[in-house]
Every structure is written in C-alpha cells, then in structure tokens.
C-alpha cells in the first residue's frame, strides 16, 4: 500500500482528502503547516507528497526545494492559485506535477498513480546511452563519464523516453502523455520546466544544450551524438 503525505492547511479539505484517498486504497498521513512538513517527511518516508503551496510557517515552494536536496520523492502540488507564476515556481523548485483546485478525486488519483507507477521497460540492453550520459534502466542510475548524476524518477523517465529513440522528435503533448500519463490537455509548460531542470543536471552548458535539443515549433529530441 502506497504511503502518501498530505500537506494542506485547510482542515475540511485535508480531512476530506484523507477520506477520499483512503477509499481509493492509499495509506494517508497529513500535516497542517509548512513547518511540520519536513519532520513528517523524514519520519514517515512517504512514497509521494501532496503539497499545498499556500501554507502557514513555510510555503510549499520552500518545502519542495528542501526535500529535493535529499530526495527525488514524487511531489504533486495542489494549488488554488491558478496564477501560473506560482505553479511554475513550484515546478521549478522540483515538483513533478500539479493539480489545480477544484479537482475531482479521479484526477488526483490518476495523477498520484501515474507518479507511483514503476518504470516497466523490458529491453535487451538495460543501458541506454545519450552522448556521454548512461542510463541504467535496472538500477535507475545515471552516469556522465565517471560522475553519478541524481535524477528524480520523473526526470529519469523523461530522459529515458527521449533517449530510447534518438533524433525522434517528441511534441510536448506526446511527452505529457508518455511521461506524465496525461490523457487530456495539460499545461505544456510542465514539460518546458522539467526539460530545463534536466538540462541543468546533464548538460555541460545549459544555454547550449547538446543532449536534449529543442526543435522549434515542434518539441524536443535527444541529441545527435
């Protein structure tokens, strides 16, 4: 049973979320303030965190940044602020996905399941290469030369998707569907932000990417090397 941590300050919503997610078969714990979030995360070691952005004590973006220093645990931000800037800042801080209030429980559950689903790739060669970067699909380790690179599961999946078919162009919509498992329209900036984060980890020069290339007017592709 997957363990979820909910960080949400609204009591009624938190309780209802707990009930709703429990009926969908999750093991749910929750905290009401930003200050409690990190201790609860360290103590409970949840499989996924649902994080409100507007929190007393410590806001969601700060919590996200802090968790990402030590862990790649999937984080989905819950936001009433459809103000894009907040959502984007949350994603830039390391959140994997977002859900905008009000959301039906099915949407939330499908987002959670998408993030918890293990990578099921059966290929002959478990090592996928893109330039000097090697992805080990068994151990989920990423190396650039001798250096080990820490990618979140989402970033790993994103890079693996692109690298499995080098030079094949993926539109943002395709990536949303294959990596995030969206079946309906979602904000394509989700892709943009994560491509940027990915580049910052694997590229020598983020401004002049050689591994993950932008195809203007279309989307992205793995580099030619």
């Amino acid at each position: 049973m997957s363990k979820l941590l909910i960080v949400e300050d609204d009591d009624a919503l938190r309780e209802q979320l707990e009930i709703g997610l429990r009926t969908h078969g999750f093991d749910v714990a929750s905290v009401a303030t930003g200050t409690d979030a990190i201790p609860a995360f360290e103590k409970l070691k949840p499989d996924l965190i649902l994080l409100d952005l507007m929190l007393p004590g410590k806001n969601g973006i700060e919590i996200c940044t802090e968790i990402r220093k030590t862990s790649g645990v999937p984080i989905i931000i819950l936001t009433a602020r459809t103000d894009d800037q907040d959502m984007i800042r949350g994603l830039e801080a390391g959140a994997d996905d977002y859900v905008t209030k009000p959301y039906p429980i099915e949407v939330l559950v499908s987002r959670i399941k998408a993030r918890l689903r293990p990578l099921t790739r059966v290929i002959e060669n478990p090592i996928v290469k893109i330039g000097s970067v090697e992805l080990d699909t068994l151990s989920h380790e990423v190396r650039k030369g001798e250096k080990k690179i820490a990618l979140t599961p989402l970033e790993f999946k994103l890079l693996l998707t692109l690298a499995s078919h080098p030079n094949e162009v993926y539109t943002r919509e395709m990536l949303l569907e294959q990596v995030w498992e969206y079946t309906y329209k979602a904000d394509t900036r989700l892709v943009n932000v994560h491509i940027q984060r990915l580049r910052s980890k694997i590229e020598d020069d983020q401004e002049d990417p050689k591994l993950v290339l932008t195809v203007r007017g279309w989307g992205y592709k793995a580099g030619p090397e």
Partner: protein, 519 residues
Amino acid sequence: MIFSRTYKAALGLFRSSLQIRALVYTVALSGTALVILGGVLSVSIGNGLFNTRTERALVESERAKFTVSRLFNGMSPYNTWALDQTIQNVVPELESIGVSQTRLVAFLHSNKQPNPYELSNPQSAGLDLSLITDSFRNKVRSQPGLTSQTVQIKKAGESVPAILIGQPITLPGGHHYELYLVYDMISEQQNLAFVQRTLVLGGLVTLMIIGFFSFLVTSWLVKPVQEAAITSELIASGDLGRRLPVKGTDVVAVLATSFNHMADSLQEKIKDLNNISTMQQRFVSDVSHELRTPLTTMRLSADILYAKRDDFGNDEKRSIEIMHGQMNRFDKLLADLLEISRYDASNVQREFELQDLNGVVGTALASIQQFADSKGVYLDADVPSGAVKCEMDAIRIGRILNNLLTNAIEHSEGRPVKIRVAQNDSAVAVSVTDKGIGMNESEISQVFNRFWRADPSRKRTTGGTGLGLAISFEDATLHNGLLEVTAEPGVGSCFRLTLPKDSTITEFESPLPLAVERA
C-alpha cells in the same frame, strides 16, 4: 490656380499659427505708423526746403533791385539809346550774380503808359513768358514791393517747381518797368527726393527689424503656450506624470502653475479610479480563489457520494447526481471568472508557438462530436489539405473553437453546422456557421458581453457560464486577431475568427467571408 492654392496655403498658415498672425499684425501696424511718420516728415522737410529757398530768392530779388538802380544811376532820361542799351544789360547782369546758378530774368516794360521810344523788353533765353500771367503782372504793378508766386517750369523736358518774383521799377525818365526773376527749385527737389528715398529705405529696414524682433518676442511668448499644448497632448496620451516648468511669477508662470494643478488633480482622480478598478479586479480574483478550497472539499465529498450513489434510495441518488452536476457547473463558472479577471488585470501571458490551425480545429471537432451527436447536428468541416500554420496559443484557440461550436450546435435547431478553415499571405481564419435561430441587431451587439444570454427564457441545456464568448473575444484580442459575428433572425449566425500569421503582422484581411447561409 497656383496662385489661389498658394493664397489658400498662406491663409491656412495665417489662421493656424498664432505667431505668424501676431507677426503680420505687428508688421502691418508698424508699417502704417511708419508711412504716416514718413509722410509728415517728407511734407515738413519739403516745406522747410521751399521756405528757405523762397526767403533766399526774396533776398536776392531785393538785391537785384539795387543792382538795377545802380545800373541806371545818373543816366539821362533823354538819351533813349543809352537807356535802351542799359535795359538790355539788365538781363545778363542779373543772370550772373547771386548764388543761384539757375536764374531766369525778364525785364518788361509796364503797360501803364505807352512805350513811345520802343524800349526793349529783354529776357533770358529759355524763359517762357507765358509763365508771367497778366493777372500776376497786374498784381506786381499794383504794389511797390516784391510779389511772389510758385510756378512750374520746363527744364530738360521735366516739369520743375520754381518761384517767380516780380517787382515794379521806375527808370529815369519815368519809364515803368517790371523786373521778373524765376528761381528754379531743382536742387531742393533733388534734396527732397533724396530725403524721401532715405525715409523709404529707412522705413523698410526699420520694418524688417521690427518684424525680426516681433518674431523673437512672439516666439518667446508663444513658446510656453506651445509647451503647454505639447504637454497636454502627452498627458492626454497617458503620460500622466508630465508637468510644465514654472519660471518667475508672470502670467505664463501662473498659467503653468494652474496647468500643473489641473494635471495633478487629474492624475489623482485617474489613480483613484485605477485603484478602485484594481481593487475590484483583485476582489473578484480573491473571491474566486477563496471559493476554490471549499469547492474542492465539497467536490471531493460529492465524488465519494457519487461513487456510492447506487447504495442510496432513488431520491437520494438523484440528489447526489444533481449535486455532482452542479459542482461541475460551479467549477466551470469559477474557472471562467478567474480567466476573465486575469484578462481584466492584464495578467495574461502570451505564449505563442507556430501551430497548424487544422490540427487545433480537428481536436476541437473531435472533442465536441459526442455533444453534436446527442443533438443530432452534423458537423460539416471544409478544411484545406495542407497545413495552416500560424503563431498561436493552441489552448486558447481550442477554447474559442469549443465555445463557437457549442453555441452553434445549441442554436442550430438540428441543422448542419459548417466549419471552414482558410489562409492567405498574412492571416488564417476559421468560421463556424449555423442555420439556426440567428440573432437580431441588438443581440449581435451584445453577444460578446459578459453573462449575456440570447434569450433569458431559453432553456439552458449545456449550462454555459455566460462568460464563454467574452473570454473568446479576449483570447482573440490577445492574438491581435479578430472575432467577428454576423447573424440574421431565423436564418442563422456566422462567427469568424481571424488571426495574423505572426505577431509582426498588423494589417491583414480575413481569408473567409463573414456571412450567414440560407437553409
């Protein structure tokens, strides 16, 4: 033709430029004053010259009388030959003395008594005797002293003013003679002409100097007015912080001060209005946000009940379904409210990419197909085969299309809805035409208004928010595009969205017609 055009242009300039008007008036008035002054000066100088000449002529005439007396002094009155010789000597004698270079002389026998000895009547060559009229001679005879008169003489073919002075002289033996002297005034005339020329020239130069100075002065005076005009223009165009510089304490400074006061209070008022408007926008946005959390909770609660609705009795089950449906509607309404408040706050970012309009239309058609089928409406798409590329935000354009299609299907009364896509060099367009109930003029004018519904009594089947077309209009405007509508009651409606191919294009024509179609 050309003259009249030049005249009109000059008149236009005269009317439009305060400075040129002031300049023209100043020069005209100073010119008049100078002409009057010059005239008075010229007349008075002329008089002075004339009087001086006359006085000198009188003095010379007096002296001439003594000369003549001396000539005849001691002569025997009976020696008429000698007498006549002397008489003939008078003219050369008098012509050569005195300072006047040009002096004409006539020494005429008076007709008071007969001229028994046939004495001579000598006169200067070139003197026209007709100048000396009989009436003047009578006047001379009747008084002992000098008699003078102004006459015109001919000299080198020109008429020149001259002074004619006559005096009676009695010769020894009682012969009555009259001595006439004609002094021309050529040099005076020349002097006067010179003075007049100088006056005219001086006047013209003075006028030019006056013109130049009045230009400087009016520029200096008009400059603050021009500045005020430019500043008001700038303020009117939105640069509310503009003010006039205040220098000194004169009337211009007072004008600048009052102007700045006016601008201050204007700016204050506009700021207040903006604040109120911003507050309202923020209120709408805040309310929408605040509603989201309880709405989410309620929605989650409703979802749980909805999932288990079969466990309840019929009434409860139906209530749960209604609640669930209304949650969706509430949700959509909030989303639209937030969207419109974002537009009101100019808080919408343009995120455009080169996209194929055909693809966006295809997606929109696919997503609406089920609804069209449920209404029995056939969607007839006329789409060009190639790609119709355009810089756009596909989500917003898809939203516009979804709105237009939903409305068309709702109002088409089961008749087919036509969808067209086309492009030209500068723009792409998509139109949605239905053959339904249509709209009248007043309905057309309100169709993009918020919360406006064509017919309040109409059944709301889709539960639209009433903000759909208002948001669509804003979406189109964000693309620098146009969302237009035409309709006819009972015939149908046609909505046309035209988008420039990229943001550099400002002028474009829609590649599609905006017209209703008859069934």
